[in-house]
Structure formats: structure tokens, C-alpha cells
């Protein structure tokens, strides 16, 4: 469904990705794990068109999207929940959700999607009139995911949904991610530093190390891999 082939991305002279390839198939949760600065965020930003690669190819639903503008990629149904959530702080929860349906432009569908989002994150319904900036970190993450779901994505990319969130809520959010993927048959590319959690809910994992794929395979295998355990799972 999403195929990334030999992707090279640089920030000026800094090479952030040097030949990264991976695939996500329909209905799968695939995770991209790796330490700080490994290039995970860069990979997602390049896929969603926020960054231009030096070389390489990105295909979505059989279509080459490597040079498409970001708004065109969203229009194809590839949605990205960015690192740090990036909710619109001065807009209300309701307006944030409306922005998620910006391209949908269909009141009936927008209403149905809003109901679905409230079903998953009832808290958003309680906070509808509040500005997003007043929400807790966990609630903002729910809003960021809910906002992405408003547009009826065919594919979801999540960048560190556990970052800066109370541990209690992290579990909830990961359960919801699994639920969303199951309910909607939605393929998810999950970027995480919390490798333990990411390996638990994903079927396939890729380990990024300084811009290279260092390892990849079924998540259940990687969980038992001694080298990975030592580096990312704390032994």
C-alpha cells in the first residue's frame, strides 16, 4: 500500500536518511523504531510531502507521490499526525476537528466521522468548546488523532504518540490505535521511541539507526532479538 524505496533526505549538509526502504501492507500496523535523531520524523515528513528527498521513491496505492505537494498527498488519503501533536492551540476542539475534515467538505460525512471520533475519544466531546491549547498533553494527542480521522484517511502515520504524555494515558492511546486500525481496517505506520509498546501492537518493525534500516522483521521476532533488547528494550 505504501512503499518507500531507497530514500535519501538531507538538511543542507546533514544527511538524515541514507537509503531507507520499507513497505506497509493493507490493514497492517508497522512500526519504525529507533533512538533520538535516527531519522524517524524525517521519514514521515518526507512521505507526507513536507520535505523533498534528494533521491528515492515513495509510492502510495500504486501511485508515485514522491514529488507531490503536501496538500495533494492528504487528498489521496494519506494522513500524518505529526510529532508534538501540532493541534491548533487557539482554535476550539470543535474547530480543530473541522480542520481535519477540511478536504472532505461534506456535512453528512463530517458529522458521521465526528460521532466516530467521539466514540473513540469521549473526552473530546466534553471539551468541544475549549481551545485546544488548554487541553492536557494526552487530550491533545487524542485531538490530533481524532482530527486526522475526521478526513477519512486510507492510511495513518503517527509520530511518537506517547511523547510527553502521562503514562496512564499512553496505554489508553495505544489501545485506541489498535482499535482504530481494527475497526476501519486502517493501515498505520507508527513511529516510536517507546520500542516495547510499539513492538507489542505492530506486526512488522523496522529499526532505524542514523538514517539506515539496521534491522527489520516481524515484531514478535524483534522483541526477542538480543541486540535489540540490549539497545532499545533495556535488556
Amino acid at each position: 500500500m505504501l512503499t518507500v524505496t531507497d530514500l535519501h533526505v538531507s538538511y543542507g549538509v546533514i544527511k538524515a536518511l541514507c537509503g531507507v526502504s520499507f513497505t506497509v501492507d493493507a490493514g497492517q500496523i508497522v512500526t519504525l523504531i529507533g533512538g533520538n535523531g535516527a531519522g524517524k520524523t524525517t521519514a514521515l515528513r518526507t512521505i507526507s510531502g513536507l520535505l523533498r528527498p534528494v533521491s528515492g521513491k515513495i509510492e502510495f496505492l500504486g501511485q508515485d507521490i514522491t514529488r507531490q505537494p503536501a496538500h495533494g498527498i492528504v487528498a489521496l488519503g494519506l494522513n500524518h499526525v505529526p510529532e508534538g501533536r501540532m493541534v491548533f492551540a487557539n482554535l476550539t476542539v470543535s474547530e480543530n476537528l473541522a480542520m481535519g475534515a477540511y478536504l472532505l467538505n461534506d456535512t453528512a460525512k463530517t458529522d458521521a466521522n465526528r460521532e466516530y471520533v467521539f466514540g473513540i475519544f469521549p473526552r473530546l466531546k466534553e471539551r468541544l468548546r475549549q481551545t485546544a491549547g488548554t487541553l492536557s498533553g494526552g487530550e491533545q494527542q487524542m485531538l490530533a488523532i481524532g482530527r486526522a480521522l475526521m478526513g477519512e484517511p486510507k492510511f495513518l502515520m503517527l509520530d511518537e504518540p506517547s511523547l510527553g504524555i502521562a503514562p496512564r494515558l499512553v496505554t489508553t492511546i495505544f489501545e485506541k490505535i489498535v482499535e482504530i486500525s481494527r475497526d476501519r481496517g486502517l493501515p498505520i505506520l507508527l513511529v516510536e521511541q517507546n520500542a516495547r509498546l510499539a513492538l507489542e501492537i505492530s506486526s512488522t518493525a523496522y529499526v532505524l539507526e542514523s538514517g539506515h534500516v539496521a534491522m527489520h522483521g516481524p515484531s514478535s521476532d524483534l522483541r526477542r532479538d538480543p541486540r535489540l533488547r540490549a539497545t532499545y528494550l533495556g535488556g
Binding site: 513536507l50 478536504l103 478526513g151
Partner: protein, 308 residues
């Protein structure tokens, strides 16, 4: 007291014009975080659009100077200015989108000089007299108002405030209630996230320039009706005052731009009425310095913490 009320009325009429121009500064700042120093010159272009289009409209329609004539010329001038503003954005600012803000700022000053000198070249440098679109007169106030009846309220003042209010209401509606307005606000809060929602930044930024420039164009017409002598450098002072108004109200805030514009207009009128016209400009720019020193976010603005 009557004297004070009179200055207040004069000030509000002038302030309505500053408010319309200030909105353009604040809207462009909202989406691009830079001060479009060429914006005052769009106001001048609006005046010259009226200068050329006005007589033609009167001739073609056979209208005599009236509200109707103003209402016909106004949208034409607004459209011309919207196109000019969008062209400037497309040709001069868009190619510099990823450059340091200072580069864009210096470019804006260059564009401003180009419009002023180009204006002198095309329109001629000497002042022109603006065609009469509406015959200005003092309104006769009913004697039942008592001493208030001695106030002078002119037709053009009513027109300026009326049209300004109408346009401000329209803008509020667009920014507050429409999908495009929501996209504008989202873009000003977080352009990256807006893109991830499917917002075409180029399109929304162009629209923002179009809207802001249309309002400046309307201001150009309204100002020229009040003060029918126009010249290619008229945008400098008006632009600077409106810029002060936008900063006073809180750059980035639409309500702030309107409040700031009206305050600056009233302040000017009071200084002229009670002190001396000589002090008008020094006091207005003194206000700018005071705000920048003591309340850089302006009266209604708030500084968002920088994102990492």
C-alpha cells in the same frame, strides 16, 4: 464637550480608514509573519483606480455623484487592488517563502519604492484632484438634539464609517464562519499542521493578500472622497499610521487592528484639535515607540510561545 464630540467624530471617520488598512498588515502578518511594507501603496493604488474608473463609471451609467456611484466604483477599485496585491505576493514574496524573514522584509521595502516611483512615472508626480463621486455636505441635524445639533457630521464621514463597518462585518464573517477563513486561522497558528489537513498554503496566502489589499483599496477610495487630493506618495503616511494602529491593537489580531485604527484616528483628531497639527505625527509615532517598549504584544495581541 461639543468640541470634544466633534473631534471624536472626525477622528472616528479617519480611524475607520486606518482600520481598513491596518487589517491588511495584520492579516498578512498572521499568515506569513512579516510586515508587508508595500501595503500602504496598495491604498494609493486604490485611490488611483477610483481616479481613473470613477469618471468612466459616471459617464457610462449616466449617474450623477451619489451613493450609487460610490458603490459602483468601490468594488472595481477593490478588485483592482486585490489583483495587484496577489500579483505582488506571487512575483515578489512567494519565491522567497523559505528565505530569512529579513530578506522578505527588504524585498517589501523595494516593492514599496517601486510602486511609489512607478506611480510617479505612470500617474505623474503632482497631486491630482479626485473626481466627485458623491457631493459632500454637512448633514442637517434635528434641532431637537439641542446643543448637539451644532455638531458637523458630513455625508462622507457617514459613508466612510458605514462602508468601513460593512466591510469589517464581512471580513469577520469570512474569517470566523467560512471554511476558507478557518483555514486562514489554522495556517496562522501552525502552517505545517494546516498543510497536513490538506490546506494549499499558496492558495490561502494569495487569498489573504487579496482580501487585505481589497480592504486597502476601499480605504483609498473612502479617504479620497474625504480628502480629494491624491498623489503617488499618499500611501506612505497612511500606511505608516495604519501600521502603528496594527501594532497598537496587537499585530495578528483582527479586532486589534480595528480598535487600533480607530484609536489612532481619534488620537490624531484630538491632537490636531487641542494641541497643534504640528504635533500629530510625532505623537502617533511616539505611541509606536511606547507600545514597543512597554507592551510589544499590543493591546489585544498575545505573543504565542515560540514553537520548538
Amino acid at each position: 464637550m461639543i468640541e470634544f464630540l466633534q473631534q471624536l467624530i472626525n477622528g472616528l471617520a479617519q480611524g475607520g480608514i486606518y482600520a481598513l488598512i491596518a487589517l491588511g498588515y495584520t492579516m498578512v502578518y498572521g499568515v506569513l509573519r512579516f510586515i508587508n511594507f508595500a501595503h500602504g501603496d496598495i491604498f494609493m493604488l486604490g485611490a488611483f483606480a477610483g481616479f481613473y474608473v470613477g469618471p468612466a463609471v459616471l459617464r457610462i451609467t449616466g449617474l450623477s455623484p451619489s451613493f450609487a456611484a460610490v458603490l459602483l466604483v468601490l468594488p472595481i477599485a477593490m478588485l483592482a487592488c486585490a489583483l495587484a496585491g496577489m500579483a505582488i505576493e506571487r512575483l515578489c514574496y512567494r519565491p522567497l517563502r523559505d528565505r530569512p524573514r529579513l530578506t522578505v522584509l527588504i524585498t517589501a521595502i523595494g516593492v514599496s519604492l517601486l510602486l511609489e516611483n512607478g506611480g510617479q512615472f505612470v500617474f505623474g508626480a503632482s497631486p491630482r484632484s479626485f473626481p466627485e463621486l458623491i457631493t459632500d455636505r454637512a448633514l442637517a441635524l434635528p434641532a431637537s438634539l439641542g446643543s448637539l445639533a451644532t455638531l458637523t457630521i458630513t455625508l462622507s464621514q457617514v459613508l466612510v464609517l458605514g462602508v468601513a463597518l460593512l466591510l469589517l462585518g464581512g471580513l469577520r464573517q469570512i474569517v470566523g464562519k467560512t471554511r476558507t477563513g478557518l483555514a486562514m486561522r489554522a495556517l496562522s497558528l501552525n502552517p505545517t499542521a494546516a498543510q497536513l489537513m490538506g490546506v494549499d498554503l499558496d492558495r490561502i496566502i494569495a487569498l489573504t493578500f487579496g482580501l487585505g489589499s481589497a480592504l486597502a483599496g476601499a480605504a483609498g477610495i473612502l479617504a479620497s472622497i474625504q480628502q480629494p487630493s491624491i498623489d503617488p506618495l499618499m500611501g506612505i503616511a497612511a500606511g505608516l499610521k495604519a501600521f502603528v494602529a496594527a501594532v497598537l491593537g496587537g499585530i495578528g489580531s483582527l479586532t486589534g487592528a480595528v480598535v487600533g485604527g480607530l484609536l489612532i484616528g481619534v488620537l490624531e483628531a484630538l491632537v490636531v484639535g487641542y494641541l497643534s497639527p504640528t504635533y500629530r505625527d510625532p505623537i502617533v509615532f511616539g505611541v509606536l515607540i511606547l507600545i514597543l517598549l512597554f507592551r510589544p504584544a499590543g493591546l489585544l495581541g498575545r505573543f504565542q510561545p515560540e514553537k520548538v
